[in-house]
Structures are given as structure tokens and as C-alpha cells.
Amino acid sequence: MTENVSAPPRSKIGVLIENHFDPTEYKLFNKMFPARGYQVDYISHLWGNVDSEYSSNPERDPATNKDRIELYVIVKTEINDVVLSDYKGFILIGAYAMDRLRYEAKPIKGQPNQSPAVKFLRKAMQTPGLKIGTICHSLWLLCADPQLLKGRKVTCANNLIYDVQNAGGDVQFDGDNGPRRLVVDQDLITAKHPADGITEEFIECFIREIERG
């Protein structure tokens, strides 16, 4: 984490990331958080490597009408080494990245998920005042340990509703419009999906919740 040494303490946002992350969210995190004085650190499980490169979900390029991978990010921060008190909050990036971060080589019946990211979340979500944000498909990481979701008011992409409900999450709906755009349940801030300006609202809301304490 040498690249972060000069940052003032308690002004950082950690974003959990893996392959197939949402590129539109990534670009907005990098634009909006620094503009409001927050540094964004990307965090993942590096499997013993010093760094790891991840690519965004392929998206249709209107110029060529072909799918292409737009973004690559090199992550140097290992999730097992993260000190919670260095951060104001953590965001779980959308698309398929969080499905990958919950991988455990040997799931054991009756034992909560032992992937580094889920173990990290269990610790983070027990820390009062530490904000956790999810958007689109990223509640998958919480579905891996239903104790993290049971009874929590949340929102997510339409595809995810059933996984979240099966894990005991209480998805909030906006009438016939499907899941609500944003839901705040104490330290857990959830957003529906990165379209219709929701990512911007999510980032604004996340900052507001951090600054409210």
C-alpha cells in the first residue's frame, strides 16, 4: 500500500473489485470521490501476488457495434491486509466481480463462507459507523453469508432480487418500477443498477452518509 502513504488518514474509500467489473461505475467513482476530497483505493484478493490486473465487463462499442473490454485496472491492495480504520467506507463494485470474490476452494456445510472477501465483510459490517455500499449485482458477496443480509432493507438489480430474498434480505420496491433506486439501512447503502443516473445518486448518498457519521 506504499502508493497511499501520503494520503491523509480517514479520507479514503475502498472499492472491492475483481474481473468483470462495471466500467461505468469505475469511471464515476474515480471522478466523483476525488472531486469531493476522497481517495479511492481498489482492493481485492491477490492470491499471494504483489498485484493483479482485472478487466471490466465487455460492453457494446457503439462505433463498431462489437463488444469490447474498455478498462483494465492493476490492484495492489490485498484485502487480508486492509486496516478498517484507514477507510471511511467500502463499496462493492457491480457487474460480476463480487461473484468471483466469494470463491472458496472447499465450502463446508454449516460453516460460514471463508473467502477472504466475505471474512473481511463480516468484520467490516460489525464496525459501527463504517459504511458499506453495494450496487447492481454486488450484493452477491453478502448472499454468500446470509447472516449479513437477514432482515436488512436493500435494493439491487432485478436479476438479483431472488438471490437476495433467498438469503433473507428485505428488497424494497417502488411500486411497479421494481426495486427502489437507493436504500439506506443504517450503515448499509444499496443502489439498484448503474443506469438512469443512479450511480451518481449512490455516490452522493454514500458521501452524505459518511459525513453524517
Binding site: R102, A105, P107, N113, A144, P146, N158
Partner: protein, 204 residues
């Protein structure tokens, strides 16, 4: 030609795993089966989907929507493949109804003579209707372990698991073992018959 005269459906959407889909296309055909790729066409005559690993296009022009019961009964097996096919297929705007792909697979569950196959991330399609797998023996990609337990299924730590008319496999890299098991089950009716539970009800 162990599957002569049999028809096998593979559900398709974008983010499929190319090697796996091509393997089914030729391996089942090699045994004499007709392999049909079904999707939700959203009113289009055809849709071209893009593969997960190599962005390879795959054209699909047959829909599972509005399929008559007798057409459905022509199928010996319905396969929900790897990648993010199942997550994409369960997308629906009208949340008052099940996603059309889940309704379709629910109808297949109501017919125990149709073998239902799910591999890797395929079981996501059943999340909107978890009663279909509650208490049943399955395997999935390890990433889905929590989702599958949350559906009430029984996770068996093997690469291929058979529970009567339900066959599941761990990852796309096990597609050959999965296909071999499907061929074995379909070519010996006694195997499927002897392990089959009496009748599955589609609606709770």
C-alpha cells in the same frame, strides 16, 4: 448412436462459455441427438449472443416462450449452461410474474420424463422458484454455494451429481463429464426410471 431420435435443448444468452456450448452441439449430435438452442427472443427473429471468454458470436433463433406442452414433451433433456447465461435469462421487467425462462424450466420440472441439467452457474435460473430444488441433491460452481444453500438444496461435493430427473455439474470445465452423464442417463431409460422420484409438482 445412443441418442438417436432424441432432442436436447440448451438455453442460451450472452456470457456463455464458448468451448462448452460447442462441445454440447457436437457431442450430442455425435450420438444422434438433435440439439436445439433456445432463448428469449424479445420479439426479434433472432439474436446474436456473445461468449464470455472470447467474445465469440452465437446466433439463436428459437424461443422457449409460448412453447406448447406437446412440443416441450418432445425434449429428452433441457440444459442450463455455464457462465452468466442463467443470470441474464432470469432478468425480467415484469416482477409480478416469474422470468419467462424460469417459468419454462418450471414446466420442465413438472414433467419427470424430461432430464433437467444445470452446470456451473446454471442453478441461478431456479432462484426465483427455489421450491424446485429444495431438499434435492445438487452441485454447482463453488461461488454459488451460498445461493444454492439459500434455495434449500443439498450441496454434494462431487463434480457431477444425479438426483432422479435432475443432473448437475460443478463448472464449465466439467462439461465433458456432465455430457457423458446425460448421454448415459438418456440412453438407458432404466437408469433414469429407477432413480426417479414419483412426480414433481411445478407449483408449490
Amino acid at each position: 448412436m445412443k441418442l438417436k431420435g432424441k432432442k436436447i435443448a440448451v438455453l442460451l444468452e450472452s456470457d456463455f462459455c464458448e468451448h462448452e456450448i460447442w462441445y454440447y452441439k457436437f457431442r450430442f449430435a455425435e450420438e444422434g441427438a438433435e440439439v436445439v438452442f433456445l432463448t428469449r427472443l424479445w420479439g426479434h427473429p433472432s439474436l446474436t449472443f456473445i461468449g464470455h471468454d472470447h467474445q465469440v458470436p452465437f446466433l439463436c433463433d428459437q424461443s422457449f416462450e409460448n412453447m406448447e406442452d406437446d412440443q416441450l414433451a418432445e425434449y429428452s433433456a433441457i440444459i442450463v449452461p455455464s457462465g452468466f447465461v442463467a443470470d441474464r435469462l432470469r432478468y425480467t421487467q415484469d416482477l409480478s410474474k416469474l422470468p419467462p425462462a424460469t417459468s419454462f424450466i418450471e414446466r420442465a420440472f413438472a414433467n419427470p420424463s424430461i432430464l433437467k441439467g444445470f452446470i456451473c452457474h446454471g442453478l441461478w435460473l431456479l432462484a426465483p422458484s427455489p421450491d424446485l430444488v429444495r431438499g434435492r441433491k445438487v452441485v454447482s460452481h463453488n461461488n454459488l454455494y451460498g445461493d444454492v444453500i439459500n434455495m434449500g438444496a443439498q450441496f454434494v461435493d462431487e463434480d457431477v451429481v444425479v438426483d432422479s430427473d435432475l443432473v448437475t455439474a460443478r463448472t464449465g470445465d466439467h462439461c465433458h463429464l456432465f455430457a457423458r452423464k446425460i448421454i448415459e442417463l438418456l440412453s438407458d431409460t432404466k437408469v433414469l426410471q429407477s432413480t426417479r422420484i414419483p412426480t414433481m409438482s411445478a407449483t408449490p
